[in-house]
Point group: D3
Chain length 327, copies 6
């Protein structure tokens, strides 16, 4: 196993064709969640991955498992329960000056009720190269936060790298609580993915440049590498996207800026992380930034949280494929 991720996946119900949720008569259905998105992404790029979660044993829970399977993600460590519900979220696609929006309905989800001891982390992580989770998981509940700590400790015991996407969700917890819960975890993290906004909100880290933000985070928490994604939104349908990374040795890695016609940006950050982890684990930080950027840019051009782009497409984009029709 190359990568093991842990976190919530929800049923994603999206309003078709720029409709507002109040007016829909149908919703498109798939699944999505930050950590499964990453597991699916690295599997798509060629690594072996597993996703750990807690799911209700009903059609919606099975749908989440099936979709993970469809991408070749190992689902054998999922904890099944006959209680509790599947979290859901509703997506509305925007058009300037109306931003896209997401309505979460995740209260009482099966994973928010996970408890330490339910997952045999040492068994799960034995032989794995990297464990990944995000700031959403400990925000779900105190017991979920305890399981995150438990998993990271096992990762350290098993010699896995630990990757963490800060992913601050203000609807789930306050910045203060986010800081208090996550600060102790940071000591176990090797790779941090984040945005400038989130690090300022959660850790109060602020600087004149992205590179300085990354450096201060490394100074404070001792990360091996920090990678920061940068999105500009001149309009809803047209964004620019790039990323940088800084390593503990102070090297700075950047990449070209992609001009993206946005089809669906939800999951764009997770696609970056997946691409980054693939590049990092196979070739190093510079490749991480390139694969992450290109994989994310491609993700944002099609529908759903998961990224159907192939590694060949990613590599063609890195080399500079054009916009003429491919026949």
């Amino acid at each position: 196993m190359d990568v093991v991720t842990f976190g919530e996946t929800m049923i994603r119900l999206a309003a078709p064709g720029f409709q507002r949720l109040e007016q829909v008569t149908s919703l498109t259905v798939t699944v999505g969640g930050a950590e499964l998105n990453v597991a699916a992404g690295v599997a798509r790029l060629g690594l072996k991955s597993a996703w750990v979660s807690r799911l209700p044993d009903n059609p919606l829970g099975r749908m989440a498992r099936n979709k993970a399977n469809e991408f070749g993600v190992d689902t054998s460590h999922i904890v099944w329960t006959s209680e509790d519900r599947m979290g859901l979220y509703f997506v509305e696609y925007g058009a300037a000056p109306r931003a896209s929006s997401v309505l979460y309905d995740r209260e009482g989800s099966a994973i928010s009720r996970i408890r330490p001891g339910e997952v045999k982390w040492d068994e799960v992580l034995r032989g794995a190269r990297l464990f990944h989770t995000t700031g959403i998981t400990p925000a779900l509940s105190d017991s979920a936060a305890a399981v995150v700590a438990e998993a990271m400790e096992a990762a350290k015991r098993q010699g896995c790298l630990v990757s963490y996407d800060l992913n601050y969700r203000a609807k789930l917890w306050s910045a203060q609580k986010a800081r208090q819960v996550q600060e102790p975890l940071m000591a176990m993290v090797d790779i941090l993915s984040t945005t400038e906004e989130d690090t300022e909100k959660v850790f109060g880290v602020k600087a004149d440049s992205y590179v300085d933000v990354a450096r201060r985070l490394i100074d404070r928490f001792g990360f091996k590498v920090v990678t920061i994604t940068l999105r500009e939104t001149p309009s809803v349908w047209r964004n620019t996207w790039t990323a940088i990374a800084v390593d503990r040795e102070g090297n700075v890695y950047d990449d070209k800026v992609y001009d993206i016609e946005i089809v669906d940006r939800v999951g764009g950050g997770d696609a970056y992380t997946a691409g980054f982890l693939y590049g990092y684990l196979t070739q190093g930080v510079a490749a991480g930034v390139q694969y992450g950027n290109a994989f994310s840019a491609l993700k944002q051009t099609s529908w759903g949280d998961f990224n159907w782009a192939t590694r060949a497409e990613v590599e063609a984009l890195i080399r500079g494929s054009g916009l003429r029709i491919a026949r």
Copy 2:
């Protein structure tokens, strides 16, 4: 106001075209819930009705309100909250030998957290002719049960008739709890709608004939009238449907049996109740059974909890309209 109903409405997400939930990529969306179905039904037939509930102030809550408005149901007494969620349910349409099925996801819904005092029942019911709720509402939570009692007491004070559909839901409470909570309520009920199965499960009332079941219920609780619906299911796509009523004076009312090609049977019982209440309030018990039967038969031939049949169509069916194409 002729009829005021009180209860939960959920967002109804249905799998299209006999798909199983696990395989869907889209879901059709509308709303439904026993008490709103009744309010919408009687409005459709020409009475003035209102529906009382507690809804989250988000697009899903507003959708429920909008759909009630669309049928001309007064929604001005809804209690709005910025907390809590909207209940949902998922429908799978069956084909023999696979029955249709409903998956509820209603835990933590706004209405389950309603508390006595939130609705000004005396104001709501002043001048109303009839108050209607079902056995689902007290099953949602203890506080919801307390609000049902509160509403019925106000109804009695305001001189409203009280109508109750027993509607036992085993997923929400045990038969024992259902009996314990509802027995005290029955004293305030004038009109009971039910099925043979439910009365046996909840009240242990059993007899050789439907008429005897109704009589025993009247004897025990003193109802003005009991009406029982009768469905036979030779297959999933073809059911028969009829109903009877018995009044306190011992009169028995029955009606022809409809042979129904089932498009969507969810809401069929509520359509019966709506038709019954319309007939009862305008013309008496015999008309109640006829309108209820015909309105329900028509409901089951189209999609959704609500019934789009017109009163003219109902009356034509009672008179015996044929199956030739109407041009």
Copy 3:
């Protein structure tokens, strides 16, 4: 040219999936109209056909022309106008005990404003074997009725057979007016297609058996052949269908009864006429009844006014193809 037909075609807007019109958020779109249905049907079976009408030169009018073209029907004699509108009709599919229904919106259509002299009938019909129209066309307006008479007279001059489907539409005219207008036309008709109901309503012809009805019609109007279709509707989704014909010599032709799972019965009568005319023109009355019956039965199993069945399928059905899957 084998067959020339004349009449209205409308845009057909159908409610999907047993929805009621009031609840739809989309409508499926195609075109249909009795006389074009016949022209398309005989073309499908291998004859050369043309359809004459009057259409507005807008996207809806062009759509009607295009769909006729798609079936290989000659549309070069259509009269185009920059005034007037396209007629429309809305279809609701039923389920027992609710019949299917059609809502017409054809007032002010371009063809209802056609005037004698706009079509050069002698040119159109020169060399044609048969002219066909139905009782709908003269019902559209007095001027349309005058054009029907004009066309029939030209048909007689050109030596064409004249075929007429009585097709009584109570929404368009009274039985009395229908009789008054059509009685003079009948003298020019060679082949009459009808149902027992329509001949009773329009001509007051009634008898103990279908054969006697046909005989009385022949006696009264001197038709070469009368063909009567017979539908039974035990339910909306399951009908039986057959037909008989009687010729002037008194020969009676009948055929097996088809048990049909109804997908869309609108256009079923026109499919019969098309099959009948094909069989009659190529092989005689007996073949007419067989082709008409089988072609109509197949039409009723798929969606739309037009019949996509092939001649090979029709002939296989006449020979008795089974219900096992065709691989």
Copy 4:
């Protein structure tokens, strides 16, 4: 009642996904019409509104009523008829260099046949704050124009403000007739919404600036306030939008320019009017322009004539919400 509007609503049949009408096999269905759009808009923003019209008592007429109800618009003053038809319109969405287009099919609609005396305007308008109609209504027929005059006179008697959107439709009448019919009406109008093009075409009012156009209109007709909307169309999918207002005292009100990614611009002007009336009635002209602009900008980002934006969204946009995804 805050606002009463009067005018036609049609069934709106839109070609999905940039298809041309000639090629569609389905059409999306909703309703729309200038005056109902305004009534729905102000109701959405929190005012009480009613819409008056004349509708056929068939599923299409009821659909219009239902959709008005869905937005909380009072429909109790609609005049129902068993004659006449529902007007329809067909929408094609464009892409540069092809503009979007609308094909109207409204001849013979029920409202075009309304006659003075059918609506009891004094009863309808008693206690209302404002009556609104547009230049489309008197264009429908002479009798509809007479009813507009009748309504405005009642409005004056009842002390209602009169609001009028000039909305010139060249397909319905000539500029000359539009001037002749509307000039007498203008004396009763307090608030005029219009565009530079329309005032030039109808009243021959032309000036170097929008403000001067507004001033000349006030000088000529004595309006309390004139508001003019300004759209630039660099492409079909990207427009800019703003508006100004000038009051009788000569004050000029303007607002920021919105850069809009156009999903559906039909109804954009009506959304402006709704927002303007809401702002004007609650806070004055300056707020009118701001609410109108923002409400219209949001409307143009989603599908349908009606505007599903909430007042909270409008106010956030006025304050300057960004384009980042709302979670």
Copy 5:
């Protein structure tokens, strides 16, 4: 690994809603093929399974792999090629008197060009309990037939049971060639699934009863068990279904007859085989027939080649679950 299957899977393009293929404007897409259907079915019921095939490395080939993964089927032994195409098939759903039909477009598919040696069968089958293929695979090409023989020989070496579904496809080969190629294979087969028609066509085995057919097959080829499925087709939408099995010891196993409302019968035979293999491997022949029958009956009530029924649903049906809605 419990079960390994080998064969073609195609992209399945189905006409929606009883449309004829010539008229569609969209097709629903999934994948299906006899041997993958079986692998997916046994995985659904709880066994571990793998599917071996040869696929083009393009989106269609990957879609087949993904869908197998989605059901938890191991796809690691698939042979990928940059040449050749994916087979396709088109489905039309029938209605009496029109049978459903399938149009194959499988010429030149990647698997038809598989050659001996491309799959390492001994590695694939090491430790597996059962190998399954059908009469379709050797019919694809001579080289595919050679690979079937190669696989069976490896199965024998590895101690796997060999299961074979005769599945005669007249479009792929003549009965004579089918016999010539398959007769030598039969010696290696332990479990034969078939129908009366197929055994008569291919092997000329005919008898007065299904049981006698099975016995003669066992006598001739020495199978451990023969199982025969029995479908009656009173109409297209309503079939009956059952099966029997006979073992080498002469025991006869039968089961109840299911009355099925047919949604999609394609894949029904494969579902039977999957259920039979599950029951046989876990509990014996009697359970095989019961699981096979129930699993197949449920499959035919939903859309697609794969069966989304759960083992719990199968077992409930065996016990006799009713047709009342499941809430």
Copy 6:
């Protein structure tokens, strides 16, 4: 007959809404192919056209014929076969930085197996003004190339102009083979449509300007006129488009540049050719470029290979219609 074209048409299966092919659950269906697109285009603009091809006699082959008929294209010279298959292609719509793409599945198509002698070219072309084919047809197979030569020779005999679109497809043949096969054909060509890229790849013709490329081609092959289309792709959703032509006399014709919001660019080049041929045959080269440009720009704003724009729309665009909504 004005224009006769010859070539392959395929079933076009497109992924809806920017989905990737691997993820679709439905595909939209129509037909397309360079030469039929041209025949349909010139028919749309008012010329008489015919399309010659070879099709399998199955629903897919008939669909291609039907769609040609729908546009009024004569299909009476198609060669039908009971062997062979229909070619297919799959379309994915892109968004920057992901280009749109086309996956062809045309191996073994009926037309690739056409042989000289199957079409009676002298009969087909007698009286025709122009014969058109493209570089795709000879690329399909050696026998198809032989039929192209046969057709051109007949065209010369019959006094038809010969038009040729170079349309190089690298997936079908090498540049070297393309040159070798097509060079002899060029001597018979009067009108060449091409792009700078294709002429460089196939004929090695390269120059500093488009005009010089055209001149060199004329010098080398003696064409009457060469026309070159020019697309710029700043993004996937926004392209610019124009064209030039040069005649044998050295005159240069250019036109304005269209800024296009791209809905579907597949078929854009064929629409240009159709417009060019229409303008050229009716008014000359200058009109050819204008009609070609405008017809192509409009085609790219709607879905499908065929162009539903009317001649009136084309002429309005040439005159400079704006982007305001057309009511």
